[in-house]
Amino acid sequence: MTEIREQDAGGKGVAEVGRSQWWDVWRQFRIHRGALVGMMVFALIMLGVLAGPLVYWNDPQFVPTGRDFIKLRDMRPVYVTLWDTGAKVSWAHPLGTDNLGRDILARLLSGGQVSIAVGLTAMLLSLVIGTVVGVLAGYFQRLDGPLMRLTDLFLALPLLPLLLVAVLLFRAPLSAAFGPEGGIFVLIVTLVGITSWMQTARIVRGDVLALKEREFVLAARSIGTSPPKMILRHVLPNVLSPIMVSATLGIATAIITESALSFLGFGFPPDFPTWGKLLFDAVDRMELYPERVVWPGLAISLTVLSVNYIGDGLRDALDPRIRSH
């Protein structure tokens, strides 16, 4: 505590220039070591997944034919030579190739794009639904009862079985409308979005209810601010912190749900890689090629872990009671 104070005194000139709420939050966030490391790992994963395919020389969809097929398939990762000198490895394929000769690292990178895209979009959708429901329920007394009953009802639904059923039902029509990959993307994002907004709605509603009793809201109302203006200018900015925390946790849930669906065989089409799908495809031959299971699983776990740590740090940083100065 004291060191931080001293640092403050030293850097006062700088701090005063850029001192805002978000500057404070960032300073508190930096103190949480886990959150900082989490953010770096997540940034690294994002960078790898987005920029990796541009730099990396192998094409994830390329399937060798003829003699190349025999030569290039079932290659082990290069590190296997450390304990098995006879292993079939090549520096051209650092993590090896699968049973069709496709490069595993390339597939991991492009699979990551899909998994993270699903995570981000589904999180945004659930956040929008959750915030709208929460703000409406908290702000308008008349809507509170019905909307909260709806939330309770959604919480009582057995989600995983329903997700499985829904994927089965809507896969064909949506594939026809948006193409096989686009259709399942829309489907999974929508399903995850509409089944994970309840916690956000509850938290936001609670905060809005508390905010409504505050003086500045009363003041704004006394000068005749209309409800839409009130919500956008006075209520929403003040409930931003719980929304941001549930956003980070939402990414993790969405990525895990998508992987679980892919793992159970209800996800993306067969030759379209996502992390869950890669893991699922590799399970049958994991005795011979454990690396094909481990890498996608590690990618999922690392992403979720880093996102959770970011959420943890954000929660601490955004909570003014914990903030040390």
Binding site: A156, L157, P161, V165, A260, F263, M286, G297, I300, V304
Partner: protein, 335 residues
């Protein structure tokens, strides 16, 4: 308390009815046809008869009411018949699976013990590990034990069961060869050796499920203990000269267990959901496995019944959690 319980039970009825309606209407949209497997040589009118025999070919609301009647009236009667040897259900139509053409509930009853064994044992193990870990890491906050515990629970959170399960198989059954990777449900326990075999095959699925549950519970236990350790009554208890052991394990623990117990109750239905994946990984043929195969085979009555059973579990344990909370915490009054 009693009136509250009764009111909640009464309120649960419309909720469950609504959920069953939602599930029914969702399945109504399903594209498959149960007659798709019947040979083309079968004439259409015979097919129509077969369809009617399965309870199809009537308007939606009649079929829904019939399903409700079968599930809530006929099935309990069948249960009573098998328990007491009566004959209430004589001649009544039961919920029939399209896959096997046999009553759905019979299959569910066959599958439930496997699920309960694995899930139940995992839950008990997880609670037994999570509570002491949570208590100790709260008592020694920011110690190495606490830091390590927090990290492990974070990892346990982050590793989904389909990865931890597969990883456990790779390590313990492929590389080390200690435990079987497939759960053999036909295994009969009748002596010490077969009991050991049963124990061995349960270790991996239980470990995977327990890791997940432990991470959630111990974090919760720790947070709850931390809340209570800062309270005034703790200082009072220490000032009275009570031993540290009594202060922590009697005064603080009892108060911080209140929310944890409700979380334990709330977690039970979620565990059945999580067990779907674990059962798939270890090939346990419990109800989760049954659900997956039923969905793949387009067996709508089976899917409807199983999903509804999950919903009943959720509503029931929500109620149990609320009641436990009311009993344990005298400050809570539901009047």
């Amino acid at each position: 308390m009693l009136t509250y319980t009764i009111r909640r039970l009464v309120l649960a009825v419309p909720t469950l009815l609504f959920i069953s309606l939602v599930i029914f209407l969702l399945l109504e949209l399903a594209p498959g046809d149960p007659m798709a497997q019947v040979p083309l040589t079968v004439p259409p009118e015979v097919k129509e008869k077969m369809r009617e025999a399965l309870g199809l070919g009537q308007p939606v609301h009649i079929r829904f009411t019939k399903w409700l009647h079968q599930f809530f009236v006929v099935e309990p009667m069948v249960l009573a018949d098998s328990l007491f040897g009566t004959a209430f259900a004589e001649g009544n139509q039961r919920v029939i699976s399209w896959q096997t053409r046999s009553p759905v509930m019979d299959i569910v009853i066959q599958r439930i013990p496997q699920t309960l064994w694995v899930v139940g044992v995992a839950y008990v193990v997880a609670v037994l590990i999570a509570l002491p870990v949570g208590i100790y890491s709260a008592y020694r906050q920011y110690s190495i034990f606490d830091q390590a515990g927090t990290f492990i629970t974070m990892v346990g959170f982050a590793i989904p069961p389909f990865f931890s399960g597969v990883l456990a198989i790779v390590i313990f059954s492929v590389q080390l060869g200690w435990f079987p990777s497939i759960y053999n449900t036909t295994h009969v326990v009748n002596d010490w050796d077969s009991f050991l075999v049963q124990l061995k095959q349960m270790i991996l699925p239980v470990m995977v499920l327990a890791l997940q549950i432990t991470s959630q519970l111990s974090r919760f236990m720790r947070a709850s203990m931390l809340d209570n350790l800062g309270e005034d009554y703790v200082r009072t208890a220490r000032a009275k000269g009570l031993s540290e052991r009594t202060v922590v394990l009697v005064h603080v623990l009892r108060n911080s267990l209140i929310p944890v117990v409700t979380v334990i109750a709330l977690g039970v239905p979620a565990i059945f959901g999580g067990a779907i994946i674990t059962e798939q990984v270890f090939k346990v043929n419990g109800i989760g496995h049954l659900l997956i195969t039923a969905i793949q085979a387009n067996d709508l009555p089976m899917v409807q019944t199983l999903t509804f059973i999950f919903a009943v579990l959720i509503v029931l344990f929500n109620l149990v959690a609320d009641i436990i909370y009311g009993i344990l915490d005298p400050r809570i009054r539901y009047d």
